[in-house]
């Protein structure tokens, strides 16, 4: 399952980040490495998704969310 499929207030774990090393390093350095727990704060189906992890609120574009594999926690 990818991040964009998750609904508001659902908790998840990052499994894998697909993409080039630039993309991976960006996601990791912002606080979403593999195996980190997160909470979806907002997903209205159109705007970038808001997730909360490591005390940080992060907005991620929907297209980029499709590159992030997650599972329910």
């Amino acid at each position: 399952m990818c991040l964009s499929e998750m609904k508001e207030n659902q908790k998840g774990l990052i499994q894998k980040i697909n993409g080039d090393s630039r993309f991976v390093s960006r996601i990791v350095s912002m606080g979403l490495p593999p195996n980190s727990a997160f909470l979806v704060l907002q997903n209205d189906g159109r705007s970038p998704i808001l997730v909360y992890s490591h005390d940080t609120m992060i907005a991620i574009n929907r297209k980029e969310c499709n590159q992030i594999d997650v599972e329910f926690a």
Partner: protein
């Protein structure tokens, strides 16, 4: 002199610390050979002078942009005597990623846990002494906005310098190198015998695993091809996994370290009610517009009294100068020289500083409180089409109030390329004065049809955005460096008024100094060319030049009077009306060509009589994209630190405004 480098993630309070440490002893320029802003400053502690280098904010030491490249290169060369890593205590785990990424660099280092007050407020307790023991480097719990705490900062800094505190790699390494995974040590073996400077083999190995382009390039050139093949084999085994592995290891190192140090009360996390609205796809935009309109209204309230008193003073000063010159028996032209160049230039500059001040304060506030990121979030989808970050919305919108001030407002953008591009766009966004001049001209010639020009104008602006993004977009913001929005929305903070106002005042002063020079130089030039002994325009150099190049300017539909008015528009939009009043009325008032800021009483009538419809159209369209004003040139020069770029942007707008005039004129000739 010893050098302290400040290293931290965006929103960690790095610039607050930098400003508080260095005060007015700052120098902002460009990194040599790079288009990245370099801020450094100085302070003295004890007997010694210290240099502080504010490294561009970055989430880690991997270089994905020009800014991050600067930070990374500076750190890996070990240029600083002490690296001061500053983290947000309220977001400790995430912001310590910078420290985890730094492990393996053998430069003396200290750690500052900033915003301890906010962390405590969130129910987080951090045992600083224990953390210091675990990391074995000086650690300071700190509140950068609290000016009383700086003595402790200096003590910690001294301790770090004296003990040459270097962070050990052993612990971090143990998380990356496990019994089932020996990839780090395998890579380290291949690196033996290489000159790595301040970097441990571990640091290089982890960057290799992250597929970091700089390190890969460096090592490939440093080892023979056989050894590179071996390294490559190890890396290919891992692929992208390598980067994920290292990232995970770094966070494990952090959370293991923090487990013994922090206690926190679990809080339920959800979007605050305000954030629900502020980040809403539709309501969020309304909120942003509302805040912006309020912001601009407040800017006006701050700026208008300054502007009014300034022009009031000008009104008082000018007759005084005239009288003084008369009493000394000097030429009347001396008085006109002093008035139109020095007094007039000063008045315009000070007046505009009101806008600059207001825009910088309000943007600073939005950044401080964290709201700016919310507005970026809702507008990102609009601006990403141009390749810009959502943050650009605020400065672009405030361009409607004052182009020159908004140019300074582009500071909220993170990369220099984005800033330059936003400036390019800003020059085509009309301020109130420009709109009123264009509409005045339109109503003179086209009466009730004038509002149509408003619509055409808006369309033209969007067309110019498109053109600019075609011409400059990829150069300033390479497509390969663009990423879809991945942005932190920082928690809301109370603004630090004292530091904010101090910083803004200092910036306004610096901008004023640059702008006044440009304005005086341009005023002087205008005065010289429009000078004639008897004050008749036809006897000035300007007329001679205008007349001589008339065959050329007529290609664009502009006779010499109109072309001179167009040039006057470069000074300021109001000045172009003043110039027209002079050249069309042939009054003996050419002395004050550009210091007349208004249309003469019967300007409309005279122009209708002297200017044909195609010429009028050409002039109106040329005015739309003319160089906004000399103040904008001044602030652009100050903000880009580059004469070349300022000239390039000015040249670009010259070209589009004249090109547009050309097209419009010839079509109109054919139609009318």
């Amino acid at each position: 002199m010893r050098t302290i480098a400040l290293l931290g993630q965006p929103n960690s309070g790095k610039s607050t610390l930098f400003n508080a440490l260095t005060g007015s002893h700052q120098h902002v320029g460009n990194w040599p050979g790079k288009t990245v802003e370099r801020a450094e400053g100085f302070f003295t502690y004890g007997e010694e002078l210290y240099r502080v280098v504010d490294l561009p904010g970055s989430y880690g030491l991997t270089a994905n942009s020009a800014e991050e490249m600067v930070t990374r290169t500076y750190i890996e060369h070990g240029y600083a005597d002490l690296v001061c890593i500053i983290v947000d205590a309220a977001q400790l785990e995430r912001s310590l990623y910078m420290l985890a990424d730094f492990v393996g660099v053998k430069s003396p280092v200290m750690l500052i846990l900033n915003m301890m007050d906010v962390a405590e407020h969130h129910g987080k307790k951090i045992d600083v002494v224990k953390l210091e023991k675990l990391l074995n480097i000086p650690v300071l719990g700190f509140v950068a906005s609290d000016t009383d705490g700086y003595l402790r900062f200096f003590e910690t800094m001294e301790r770090a310098l004296n003990t040459h505190a270097i962070i050990s790699v052993d612990k971090a390494r143990s998380f990356a190198e496990t019994s089932e995974n020996s990839v780090v040590s395998r890579l380290e073996n291949y690196l033996s015998g290489l000159k790595l400077g301040v970097r441990e083999k571990f640091w290089i190995a982890s960057k290799l695993l992250e597929n970091d382009s700089l390190v890969c390039f460096e090592i490939r050139n440093a080892v023979d091809s056989e050894r590179w093949q071996e390294i490559k084999k190890v890396l290919d085994e891992k692929g992208v996994e390598g980067g994920l592995l290292m990232g995970e290891a770094k966070y494990r190192f952090i959370s293991e370290t923090l487990r013994e140090v922090t206690t926190e009360t679990q809080q339920q996390v959800k979007l605050s009610r305000f954030d629900k609205i502020a980040t809403h796809r539709i309501w969020g935009k309304f909120v942003a517009f509302f805040i912006l309109v309020i912001t601009l209204a407040v800017s006006m309230m701050i700026a208008v009294p300054i502007i009014a008193s300034c022009f009031g003073l000008q009104g008082v000063a000018e007759p005084l100068v005239v009288k003084m010159c008369e009493s000394f028996g000097w030429w009347p032209s001396v008085a006109s020289f002093v008035n139109s160049v020095f007094v007039g230039g000063l008045a315009v500059t000070v007046a505009m500083m009101g806008f600059v001040f207001a825009i910088l304060v309000t943007f600073g506030l939005m950044e401080d409180t964290g709201y700016l990121a919310r507005s970026s979030y809702v507008f990102d989808s609009w601006l990403s089409r141009l390749g810009l970050h959502g943050k650009a919305f605020m400065p672009l919108f405030s361009g409607l109030a004052c182009t020159g001030g908004a140019v300074c407002g582009t500071r909220v953008l993170d990369t220099r390329g984005q800033r330059l591009f936003a400036m390019v766009l800003l020059w085509s966004i009309p301020c109130g004065a420009k709109v009123s001049v264009v509409l005045f001209l339109a109503s003179v010639f086209f009466g009730s049809m004038a509002p149509l020009f408003g619509i055409v104008y808006v369309a033209m602006i969007f067309a110019s955005f498109w053109l600019s993004s075609r011409l400059f977009g990829n150069k300033l913001m390479p497509v390969s460096e663009r990423v879809g929005m991945i942005m932190e929305l920082p928690p809301y903070h109370k603004p630090h008024w004292k530091i904010l106002i101090k910083t803004v005042v200092r910036n306004v002063w610096a901008i004023f100094k640059k702008a006044i020079v440009v304005i005086w130089a341009v005023s002087l030039l205008f005065w010289l060319v429009s000078y004639s002994k008897d004050g008749v325009v036809e006897h000035s150099v300007l007329y001679t030049i205008g007349n001589a190049i008339e065959p050329f300017t007529q290609i664009f539909g502009m006779r010499w009077q109109l072309f001179i008015s167009y040039l006057g528009g470069i000074f300021s939009k109001e000045a172009s009306l003043g110039v027209m009043s002079v050249v069309f009325a042939s009054t003996n008032d050419a002395f004050s060509l550009i210091s007349r800021n208004e249309a003469g009483a019967n300007l409309g009538e005279m122009m209708r009589a002297a200017v044909s419809i195609p010429e009028a159209l050409a002039f109106i369209f040329a005015s739309m994209f003319n160089v906004p004003c000399v103040l904008t040139m001044g602030t652009t020069y100050r903000e880009t630190h580059s004469f070349k770029w300022t000239a390039a942007i000015a040249g670009y707008y010259f070209a589009i405004s004249l090109g547009l005039a050309f097209v419009v004129y010839h079509i109109a000739l054919w139609v009318f």
